[in-house]
């Protein structure tokens, strides 16, 4: 027994001789990219999963008709080498590459896309992103059981390499939608070999089974440990791909991830501990990256709550918040104060709304709404999910409202699922929210606040707003379209069902060895452009 005890301990200590070559060092030689990926992905079936970590992995494994442009705005050809759009903007013809191949050597055909889109629109699959394809003729009807004939849906294989898409209306951001993984193809034969078209639990996504058409292949997947992908020699642009492998680490603890980066175990982190960001900025940390990001942090106001029904009250609350102070003293990581609901500059769109910080006007608005010392404003609750950063912001807003409007504010933090459930049933007054664009267009934000949208959650409905967006999305002229969207956004900000606080930035650490990892407003980094090189 004693010998066994000593043997075990000796084994533990003997395996403890650390080598001085870190994964980042060895990765440089072998072109192995070590990637901090936030959390364990739900899976890698592009039609089932949702989330950013899943996207990072899928972008290396599969490819849609277009890919994000690593060097600027818009999209580059992906599985489609070219496309044409009809004059009325409703018909797209995609010409697929005749050298496009699945990782098992089969050709990527137009029929593959038709079948894949049929899959995502199959209601029993339970995909959470079918609305990405609702812009197609008949797609909504097919998904919601109004028709069971997929021929009614506007996607057809004209021939082996020609895909025709018919939209309900001109949708100027349609190409942008195609860079979202829910529109990417899956290999029909592989999916059906391991289950049916609507099988959520099919085993086709396991290493050894997985077949897709991206620049990398799935090599191994150790749950909660790492996912390894290796270069796919069948990829049509394989000569451009310089990385041999990418190792994705699901590091959910930001402090652990920070330590892993500092110890040379990661080339890139998924994020940064918020308390460290100002320190790294002050230290001029050369690995710190703060990139623009198409995301907005805002407060939802429940317009059905008696205290918040009056627009004057909602405006008073908005005008009493000093957003500049918020980003300079609280968030402190390069965030930009928000004066519009859409992040400025999304695909060239510049909103023209303003939300002044004017405590006097705010106080006057509250008085106009009928509140005074004799009739004080009732106590207000700010709901947020348990998180230190959200708490700090809520504390600052609480302080500003108390100081500028004399309103008593209570902070209510809840576990993530409880918070979501309360938001969903409207059991809140003010709740913190964030939204990251799904595609590069202001519509990804403005669409949220249309009536009957599940993510509106404020109870606010304005049919002029809805009609302006509807008209804008049928307009092919970009300038005219943006003018309509600006009009809609002015209505939104004038009614203030949401208080935009700041525009997100992507803050993370990146080793100087990594090249080709360019800033991208949607944080899409196509791995075929990334390589490792030490200067």
């Amino acid at each position: 027994m004693k010998k066994l005890f000593i043997l075990c301990l000796s084994f533990l200590f003997l395996t403890s001789c650390s080598s001085s070559v870190t994964p980042v060092d060895s990765g440089l030689e072998d072109q192995v990219f070590h990637f901090g990926n936030g959390s364990e992905p739900q899976g890698i079936d592009p039609h089932i999963v949702t989330g950013v970590p899943e996207h990072h992995i899928l972008i290396s494994l599969c490819e849609g008709l277009t890919i994000p442009n690593a060097f600027g705005d818009g999209n580059l050809p992906g599985a489609a080498q070219s496309w044409t759009v009809s004059d009325d903007g409703r018909e797209y013809i995609f010409n697929l590459r005749n050298n496009g191949m699945w990782s098992n050597g089969d050709s990527v055909t137009a029929e593959d896309f038709v079948w894949s889109w049929k899959r995502i629109l199959t209601a029993s699959l339970g995909s959470q992103y079918p609305d990405m394809l609702y812009y197609l003729e008949g797609a909504y009807e097919y998904h919601n059981g109004l028709t069971d004939n997929f021929d009614d849906v506007g996607v057809k294989a004209v021939d082996k390499f020609t895909l025709k898409i018919n939209l309900k209306a001109p949708t100027p951001f349609f190409l942008g939608l195609l860079s979202h993984y829910s529109t990417w193809p899956v290999h029909k034969e592989t999916v059906l070999k391991h289950g049916s078209i609507d099988d959520r639990n099919g085993q086709w996504t396991r290493p050894g089974n997985f077949v897709c058409n991206g620049p990398f292949n799935l090599k191994s997947w150790e749950l909660n440990n790492k996912i390894v992908v290796e270069k796919n020699p069948m990829y049509w642009d394989a000569t451009v791909v310089r990385l041999n492998q990418i190792h994705f680490y699901p590091v959910s603890n930001v402090m652990t991830e920070d330590r892993m980066f500092r110890a040379g175990q990661l080339h890139v982190t998924s994020t940064l501990p918020s308390q460290k960001c100002p320190i790294y900025i002050e230290e001029k940390n050369p690995d710190l990256r703060i990139d623009p990001y198409m995301g907005q942090y805002f407060y939802r106001l429940n317009t059905e709550n008696p205290a918040l029904k009056d627009t004057k009250v909602r405006k008073a609350l908005a005008y009493a918040i000093d957003k500049k102070l918020l980003v300079e003293k609280v968030t402190k990581c390069g965030q930009i104060p928000a004066y519009s609901f859409t992040p400025p500059g999304s695909n060239g769109y510049q909103p023209d709304t303003t939300i002044p910080f004017d405590p006097e006007l705010a106080k006057q608005l509250l008085t106009d709404a009928g509140y005074s010392d004799e009739n004080p404003f009732p106590k207000l609750e700010i709901l947020f999910n348990t998180n230190e950063d959200h708490r700090k912001i809520a504390l600052a807003v609480q302080q500003m409202w108390q100081q500028n409007l004399g309103i008593e504010v209570e902070l209510v933090n809840q576990d993530w699922k409880v918070y979501l459930s309360r938001e969903m049933v409207g059991d809140f007054q003010v709740s913190r929210a964030g939204w990251i664009g799904d595609y590069e267009d202001p519509n990804t934000f403005l669409d949220l606040m249309r009536p009957n949208r599940g993510n509106n959650k404020t109870g606010w409905e304005d049919f002029e707003y809805d009609s302006l967006i509807e008209t804008a999305n049928k307009t092919t002229d970009q300038e005219q379209r943006y003018e309509l969207l600006k009009q809609a956004e002015r209505i939104l900000i004038d009614n203030m069902p949401v208080i935009p606080l700041y525009t997100y930035v992507r803050s993370y650490q990146l080793s100087s060895d990594v090249k080709g990892y360019n800033p991208h407003i949607l944080d899409h980094h196509h791995p075929k452009f990334i390589y490792l090189e030490r200067e």
């Binding site: 005890f5 075990c8 301990l9 533990l12 200590f13 395996t15 403890s16 001789c17 650390s18 080598s19 001085s20 364990e40 739900q42 899976g43 079936d45 089932i48 999963v49 949702t50 209601a123 029993s124 699959l125 339970g126 995909s127 959470q128 079918p130 609305d131 998904h143 919601n144 959520r200 639990n201 099919g202 996504t205 396991r206 150790e222 749950l223 909660n224 440990n225 790492k226 680490y249 590091v251 959910s252 603890n253 402090m255 652990t256 330590r259 892993m260 500092r262 110890a263 175990q265 576990d415 993530w416 699922k417 409880v418 979501l420 459930s421 309360r422 969903m424 599940g454 993510n455 959650k457």
Partner: protein, 296 residues
């Protein structure tokens, strides 16, 4: 007794998890009622609670814990089987370290009562009890991983030496308890008549301590080991998170946050079984060590 206990735990957990607000498919991007209906259909959540309960219980009797709601394509049994060996290994190394440090310092403190060799280990033990693992872990990483660059800061079995810091972090807290229990147990035994008899017979101090005193003096430690091992298995979440270890503890806690009903149930039942088993084991070991209990 174990089977009814586990069935009661399973039944209670089944209904308690359903009481928690929020569901497995609630997300930041709200899903449409149609999609939610489809998802509920896919996981049998549209059935009545009673039907779901009967369905689940008949499944677990056949060893089927169902599919994970959070990770499509993964079964709960598969996920437990993936994380368990790692959590077991971590617990095993930690308990070895805890025993080595705890028993030796506890025995030494008892033998050198009221000297520095008593005060210093016991003071360290008190620190070990007071310092939580979420502080101890990062502190050790900072010193040995980042400043001295001697050991990796995270991982399990990927880099040489990556098992040492997590095992020490987890083991240290238990070492502290074991040290105090050993000291107490040894002090009690060292004052017994049979120890005086052994000494008067001319046995060496080493033999007196190892062969006679430790057998009785360490009974509190043995009784503590059962719940301690169960606690190590179920409570390794913090260390697993700090050191990025793919063990079962992370699945357990994250399942609760994600309302992954089947995963919560599966891990709860499994950990309950572990607690029952290790408690039984430690009771048997304590009985074997203590002749008086054996007679009873």
């Amino acid at each position: 007794m174990a089977i009814p206990v586990l069935l009661a735990v399973a039944s209670l957990t089944f209904f308690l998890v359903k009481l928690a607000p929020g569901g497995p498919f609630d997300a930041d991007k709200a899903v449409s009622p149609q999609v939610l209906k489809n998802l509920n259909e896919a996981y049998n959540l549209n059935a009545t609670e009673w039907e779901q309960y009967v369905d689940y219980m008949s499944g677990i009797i056949q060893g089927d814990f169902g599919p994970s709601f959070r990770f499509p394509g993964r079964s709960v049994s598969e996920m437990i089987a993936t994380g368990l060996p790692i959590t077991f290994e971590l617990a095993f190394y930690s308990i070895l370290i805890a025993l080595l440090i705890g028993v030796s310092s506890g025995v030494l403190a008892a033998l050198k009562r009221n000297t520095y060799l008593d005060f210093i280990p016991m003071a360290i033990a008190m620190i070990g009890i007071c310092v939580p693992t979420f502080l101890m872990g990062p502190l050790l990483v900072l010193i040995f991983g980042i400043n001295l660059e001697l050991l990796p800061v995270s991982g399990w079995g990927q880099l040489p030496g990556d098992k040492l810091l997590p095992s020490i972090t987890l083991g240290f807290a238990y070492a502290a308890y074991i040290a105090r229990l050993s000291r107490g147990g040894m002090l009690e035994v060292l004052n017994q008549d049979f120890i005086r008899t052994a000494r008067s017979k001319g046995l060496s101090e080493r033999n007196v301590v190892i062969k006679h005193a430790m057998q009785g003096g360490l009974i509190p430690v043995v009784s503590f080991l059962g719940p301690a091992i169960a606690g190590l298995l179920a409570g390794s979440f913090v260390v697993e998170t700090i050191f990025q270890i793919p063990g079962l503890g992370r699945f357990y806690v994250e399942a609760a946050f994600n309302r992954d009903y089947t995963m919560i149930l599966g891990t709860t039942i499994f950990f309950s079984a572990m607690i029952v088993f290790f408690n039984l084991l430690s009771d048997l070991a304590a009985m074997w060590l203590n002749p008086r209990s054996r007679d009873v």
